[in-house]
């Protein structure tokens, strides 16, 4: 027993309050906490602080404190509301498309057939592609002069002359959504597959014995069992969609006109082109709060503790 610790005096009281495990846990968590405090919590608080000032880098010496002016200006700014509306359109369209396509694909990949492994590996390709490369690829496909979309539709006689797809105010946001959907479907499929695989096989056998046909089995067993997976996909993809930036930057820069002027683009323009950091911060804060609200729902609905 020579190497036992015999706490005494001052050390003893300290150790009683913070045991060996507490001290170790603190030590092990310290790096993560420092990193997250520094690069996540501090910026969030700092941007809250900034959002109460009128900061324009073009006028670096005048940064008056303006209370909630940045916020009230925001809500009276027409372009802001346009961008909110664009973001909502983009998110609703892409998330519903992702959900439907991912459902079909996951049902397919849940079957046993030859080549299933290969197919699911191929499916990972869009996920792995950098967003910028994805944007570049779709920009080329949509190209008005030489793009594949024009070429294909022309060869199939759907159109009689090449179209300027991304220049069409009514179509732009849907075309961008298509590029987004293409890249996001794999992840959504994988998440749905998890909930499909969790359905016990004897549930289907029992339903068969009870005389349920394939549609009844789908609507009464498969769909209800996929509900958590669906919620997860919906909310995760919504979060991804409302903050998405890369495609808008490369494909349209918010145009034509304000047809693809989404919130994230608006923040970018306001901050880095107009250099008004105060109102950029205010908008960032609004977006962050919306995301927080969404993720709160996300956590509550799934109710999973880690």
């Amino acid at each position: 027993m020579t190497d036992t610790v015999s706490p005494s005096g001052r050390g003893r009281r300290l150790r009683q309050r913070f045991g060996y495990d507490e001290r170790n846990a603190a030590l092990f968590l310290a790096p993560v906490m420092v990193v997250l405090m520094g690069v996540a919590v501090f910026p969030i608080l700092y941007s809250l602080y900034l959002s109460f000032f009128r900061i324009k880098l073009t006028r670096p010496n005048q940064t008056p404190f303006v209370w909630f002016d940045n916020y009230t200006d925001l809500f009276s700014n027409e372009l802001f509301w346009v961008s909110v509306w664009r973001t909502v359109t983009f998110s609703v369209v892409s998330v519903s498309a992702i959900a439907v396509i991912a459902l079909l694909v996951s049902l397919l990949l849940n079957q046993e057939f030859r080549g299933r492994r290969v197919l699911s590996t191929i499916l990972l390709i869009p996920w792995a592609i950098p967003y910028v490369a994805n944007a570049l690829m779709w920009k080329w496909i949509y190209d008005s002069g030489y793009g594949a979309l024009n070429g294909l539709l022309y060869q199939l006689d759907f159109i009689d002359k090449y179209m300027i797809w991304l220049g069409d105010q009514d179509k732009t946001i849907f075309l961008i959504a298509n590029a987004f959907v293409w890249k996001e479907v794999p992840l959504a499929t994988i998440l749905l597959l998890v909930s499909l695989k969790a359905i016990p096989a004897d549930l289907y056998q029992a339903a068969r014995v009870d005389g349920a046909n394939i549609w009844q089995r789908f609507f009464h067993i498969t769909l209800p069992a996929m509900k958590p997976g669906f919620m997860l996909v919906m909310i995760y993809e919504t979060m991804m969609a409302i903050r998405h930036f890369d495609l808008f930057f490369i494909l349209t820069e918010g145009g034509p006109g304000d047809a693809s002027h989404v919130l994230s683009w608006h923040i970018y323009v306001e901050t880095f082109r107009n250099l008004s950091f105060g109102s950029g911060a205010a908008m960032s804060y609004v977006l962050a709060l919306v995301t927080f609200a969404l993720s709160y729902i996300f956590i509550r609905t799934l109710g999973r503790r880690i």
Partner: protein, 318 residues
Amino acid sequence: MATTERANLIDDRRRLALSHLTRNVVIFVSAIVLMLYVLAPVTWLVSSSFQTEAEIVSVPPHWIPENPTLMNFEAIFGATAEEEVTYETRSGQDPASGGYIPSTAGNLLPAMGNSLIVATLVVILNLLVGVPAAYALAKIRFLGRDASVYFILVTRVIPDIALVVPFFLVIRKLGLLDSLGSLVLTYLAVTVPFTVFILVQFFEGLPDELDKAARVDGCSRFQSLVRVFLPLSLPSLVAVILFTFLTSWNEFLLALMFTQTEASQTLPIVLAAFTSDFTISFSFINAAGVLAIVPPVVVAVIFERYIVSGLTAGAVKG
């Protein structure tokens, strides 16, 4: 009596065969459609990257290059080639070309190098920071554990666009603008929560008694982590490494804010710069795009198993 029974049996068998056939046809057709949906855009990009500028501007397009050329790739790797590929040398060979090879073509490889450095550093820092935290959250019972978990969870959902403004000001104040350090730091914030969640989940799956046995055998907490838990968590470590690597490799928004010159520009930034210039050769841009796509796709395909397990774990947990 016996004959009708037999007829029924044959009938049933036929119906069964028919339903099997229907199932197979449906699966076959959907598999083909899915494959086309996923592969067609990429194939088209790859095909275009092997075409000359004259061929690429043909209407309707050539789906398969008639005179495949490596010229576009040579422009990128050209630094080592005998003859430098520039607008002049190239338009000589390809007079129909309206597009030119930008002088920034030579930046692609250094940018890839930057991406590689940043991604590698982010992976290493992630492991250094995330592994002990995950062990503590999974195996040590301490006051504030739940609060810590919740805290990390919350930081995971902050949209990066919301971080951009304060990040920018802080990075500027630190004098880190246009440096790889700014990217490493910010990517770390984006990836660490995910790393912690994957590893927490994995460690929680390992029995508590293993940890207790190690500690009774004479391991401190740290030794238990290093000597018992780490050797067992290789699969989840691979998932973490792949995921953080790909995230850093692909990131665009933050890099766009913090980098200005080729000293710190990463691959996505150089790539994006090409797309905004209408005068640049299409086939060249496509070749650059193909180069950006190949490494992550190869990695994803090779390590498919780990990526899928990591993605599901990460998404479900966070």
